[in-house]
């Protein structure tokens, strides 16, 4: 009896000791605001203290880069005197609460530089126009600036390129000054291929060697004309109306054709269309090729073109929705011509709408619609996927292999006979596969350790290409302290860009100050203000705005503080 109590007591004591040890650690790690000792601080009103920042960073499992970079940013902000509560979030909840609901303080995201973002409509209009600041809109920071809005509208609706360009330059200047959601850095992407077996590798903007142009141009050096493509993840869904991931969409672009394609630099080139005729601001007449057939032998006609756009609207395709919503109607106006009527002038119509909407075979999809209904069509796996493109769907064994073969009757023939795409599930397996010669091409970014590993095989060549997207911190101008432009500027100057690049990316990155990549020469403004890492300048910025620090280094608002949301002229 007695002894059992002894053991129990022992255990309890041990437990309490441990939990107290644990608790002190928890407390230490979150650094509670010391509200109990106002008396000690030098007469600063505790109500004036700058509120703590809840900073969401990606989980380590999802993206080690964002996780490590996030920790470094949080540390640096603390040094300025801000209170930072760094929390990791899964992407699923971060996107729902931040990207969509805009309930964040600040979080870090990597925005991809897709070809359709070369026309910077997404970066400059969608992400910063005040109309997109409501829930679900892309103006995640809640940037509201009437001057900017006017420029953005000019940029979006004026069909004159020069006018658009000059608006874009000015908009970039405003953004660099007001920093609603500063870009920080971007990767220097490295794709690998086997140069003993293939040549003429043609990476495209934003996609690297996963680009359509690479699959069209890559040329075998040997008799083995099958291209073994290794990727980390598998294809998920080949339904053009319902697919969501880039890996699927860009693979579908090999099977299906759009009216216009974006070339390696992201500029629109005619594809199924042979002629674009802008009749007025809202009417575009398009002539299409008459020699294209779907893979089942049926010819591709204007009927299919009209059908695609009408059908996408009718079944409410989530993938097409954003692209087709500017279209009022599509009419067949000739044997090979269709006329698009838009609700209002939309400058990126050709580069962003026509290039993204893949033309579907009417005979297949109208039949599917009869059988399955609107919802059924969107949940359909669409196998085998029948398009009109240069590659024909061959077979797909999920998690093992996905194969395309060349369309022999196509108007422009690829140099290879087939693509076999293998998902490796993990980068390390992929790297080993490359070294062993199992795969000859991958668009997975090679990290420093991967490069060391592939160096073992002298046949592996590396293509370097700049990333067109960047890592961004989305501030939230709807909440303090991000509502004040001086606080935002100071916080931006406390982002240790170069240190992150050196430590986390092992040197494989570049600091960025505009959302538009400097390789995108037409739109990029090189002369914007660069709020690079400089803690002294950051302190100065705060000091000049009247911010104060107590003797523990904690940051307080100026006396009689008035929020300045954007820089006064």
């Amino acid at each position: 009896m007695k002894s059992y109590r002894q053991i129990l007591v022992l255990l309890l004591v041990a437990m309490m000791l441990l939990s107290s040890v644990g608790c002190t650690q928890f407390v230490a790690s979150t650094e509670e605001p010391a509200s109990g000792d106002e008396a000690v601080t030098n007469q600063l009103d505790p109500a004036d203290q700058v509120p703590a920042i809840e900073f969401w960073i990606q989980t380590q499992a999802a993206d080690p880069i964002r996780y490590e970079a996030g920790l470094m940013v949080a540390e640096s902000w603390k040094e300025l005197g801000f209170e930072v509560d760094a929390q990791t979030r899964e992407w699923a909840s971060m996107s729902a609460e931040g990207m969509k609901a805009h309930e964040h303080d600040a979080f870090m995201v990597k925005w991809g530089g897709k070809p359709e973002r070369v026309d910077p409509y997404h970066w400059l209009y969608s992400m910063h126009h005040s109309s997109a600041a409501d829930e679900g809109g892309y103006n995640i920071a809640g940037y509201i600036n009437p001057v900017y809005d006017a420029l953005a509208e000019e940029f979006a609706t004026n069909l004159d390129l020069e006018a658009r360009q000059s608006a874009a330059m000015e908009m970039q200047e405003l953004l660099a000054r007001d920093v609603p959601q500063p870009p920080m850095f971007k990767l220097e992407l490295k794709n690998a291929y086997n140069q003993a077996k293939f040549t003429n590798v043609t990476p495209g903007v934003g996609l690297g060697v996963y680009s359509f142009w690479n699959f069209m141009n890559i040329t075998p050096k040997t008799d083995d004309k099958i291209l073994n493509l290794g990727q980390v993840n598998d294809i998920n869904l080949l339904n053009p109306l319902a697919t969501k991931t880039g890996q699927d969409i860009y693979m579908l672009k090999n099977i299906y054709d759009p009216l216009v394609r974006l070339d390696v630099k992201g500029e629109a080139v005619l594809w199924l269309a042979t002629e674009l005729n802008e009749i007025d601001d809202t009417t575009i007449e398009i002539t299409i090729r008459d020699d294209v057939k779907f893979h089942d032998g049926e010819p591709l006609t204007v009927e299919d073109v009209k059908f695609t756009f009408d059908f996408a609207k009718e079944v409410n395709s989530p993938t097409y929705k954003g692209h087709v919503k500017s279209i009022e109607s599509v009419e067949i106006t000739g044997e090979n011509t269709v006329t698009f009527k838009l609700f209002e002038p939309y400058a990126p119509f050709i580069s962003n709408t026509l290039s993204q909407c893949l033309i579907l075979p009417k005979h297949i999809w109208s039949k599917a619609y009869e059988e399955k209904g609107a919802e059924g069509v969107l949940t359909w796996d669409n196998l085998p996927a029948i398009g009109s493109g240069p590659f024909v769907f061959d077979y797909w064994r999920p998690n093992e292999e996905f194969a395309l073969k060349t369309n022999k009757e196509y108007f422009q023939k690829p140099k290879i006979d087939a693509i076999i795409r293998t998902p490796y599930a993990q980068a390390i397996g992929l790297v080993q596969g490359l070294v062993a010669g199992e795969v000859e091409l991958t668009s997975a970014n090679m990290l420093p350790l991967d490069l060391e590993a592939v160096a073992k095989n002298p046949d592996i060549a590396i293509v370097e290409l700049p990333d067109e997207g960047s890592y961004i911190i989305h501030y939230n101008m709807r909440t303090a302290p991000f509502d004040d432009v001086y606080a935002r500027r100071a916080l931006t100057m406390a982002i240790p860009r170069q240190k992150i690049i050196d430590v986390v990316l092992d040197g494989g990155g570049l600091s960025t100050f505009s959302l538009i990549s400097e390789t995108n020469e037409f739109w990029f403004n090189p002369d914007v203000e660069q709020l690079d890492f400089n803690l002294d300048a950051a302190r100065k910025e705060l000091e000049n705005a009247g911010y104060r620090w107590d003797d523990k280094g904690r940051l307080y608002y100026p006396e009689n503080f008035q929020v300045t949301p954007i820089m006064p002229e």
């Binding site: 009896m1 002894s3 059992y4 002894q6 053991i7 255990l11 309890l12 041990a14 437990m15 000791l17 441990l18 939990s19 040890v21 644990g22 650690q25 790690s29 989980t59 380590q60 499992a61 999802a62 080690p64 996780y67 490590e68 920790l71 760094a86 990791t88 899964e90 980068a427 390390i428 790297v431 990290l447 350790l449 991967d450 050196d502 430590v503 986390v504 092992d506």
Partner: protein, 283 residues
């Protein structure tokens, strides 16, 4: 009732287990003093480069990680989470499991049916997938990992405790207590409970072992507390960084530590088993 403490002292396996356990407890308590560096701090060379993947040396006893963090310090600080999770979950599991077993066994009838029904259902829940979802719901954090462990593992002890109670219920001393007008509560906790303590202690020790294993598994899947260093997370980071083939000094220590601490739990459990079941002692 035999003297558990004395018996335990005679049990070599138990003593070894306890010593290993106490060693880790001491490391956990004095972790701050023992760790030469902040486990999350990135170490730089004097000339500025990151100390990536250094093999063990005097400066870094167990070498460094790819991000230049000191592995020895991570190991030492990581002990805290392991011991904390182990002990708290074990005590909670044994407490809940024992009480449910006691109540079900003693009262019988509808109470027993409901409680044992719940236990049956719990047995159908696969632990790791459940923990995965639960941690996703509640967010990563040590307390949630403990909660997940406790929610599932209490089932193990309650069945056995109930069986024990059933065999005790009709013994004469219980009958005597009943006749003398003792309340149910008193009989349950004064007369029956002390007799199931050895069995309960088996579950304290083995639950501790399985809780430590579970915590490291959850951390290895990347769902542990992201702001705390734990052994499972060291292994996760190592696996994820693709450096695991190059840096044995990074892979080996956390695994060995987990093995030892888990082992200590099972060894103590075995000792209590021999105490609880005299038949085993003769072998």
């Amino acid at each position: 009732m035999k003297n558990i403490f004395k018996l335990f002292k005679k049990n070599i396996i138990g003593i070894i287990g306890l010593s290993i356990f106490m060693f880790f407890v001491l490391v956990a308590i004095f972790a701050d003093q023992l760790a030469p560096y902040d486990p999350m701090e990135i170490q730089f060379f004097a000339e500025g480069g990151v100390k990536r993947l250094l093999s063990p040396s005097m400066g870094h006893l167990l070498g460094t990680t790819y991000m230049g963090r000191d592995i020895f310090s991570q190991m030492v600080i990581g002990t805290r989470i392991a011991v904390l999770v182990g002990v708290i979950s074990a005590v909670c599991v044994a407490f809940i499991g024992t009480n449910i077993g006691l109540i079900a066994g003693y009262f019988g009838g509808i109470v027993e049916r409901i409680l044992m029904g719940i236990v049956d259902v719990m047995y159908g829940i696969p632990f790791l997938p459940f923990a995965l979802i639960l941690v996703s719901v509640l967010g990563p954090g040590v307390q949630n990992v403990i909660l997940a462990i406790v929610l599932i593992t209490w089932r193990n002890s309650s069945r056995v405790i109930r069986a024990q109670v059933l065999s005790l219920k009709n013994r004469t001393f219980i009958e005597a207590a009943k006749l003398s007008g003792a309340s149910d509560f008193r009989i349950l906790y004064k007369h029956i409970a002390p007799n199931v303590v050895p069995v309960s202690l088996i579950y304290v020790s083995t639950s501790m072992a399985s809780a430590i294993m579970s915590e490291s598994s959850i951390s290895f899947l990347g769902l542990g507390d992201p702001m705390q260093v734990s052994w499972g997370r060291i292994l996760f980071t190592c696996y994820q960084s693709q450096a695991m083939f190059k840096a044995p000094w990074w892979v080996l220590p956390p695994g060995i530590a987990i093995t030892l601490l888990v082992l200590s739990g099972y060894m103590m459990g075995r000792a209590f088993e021999e105490i609880a079941n005299p038949k085993l002692r003769e072998r």
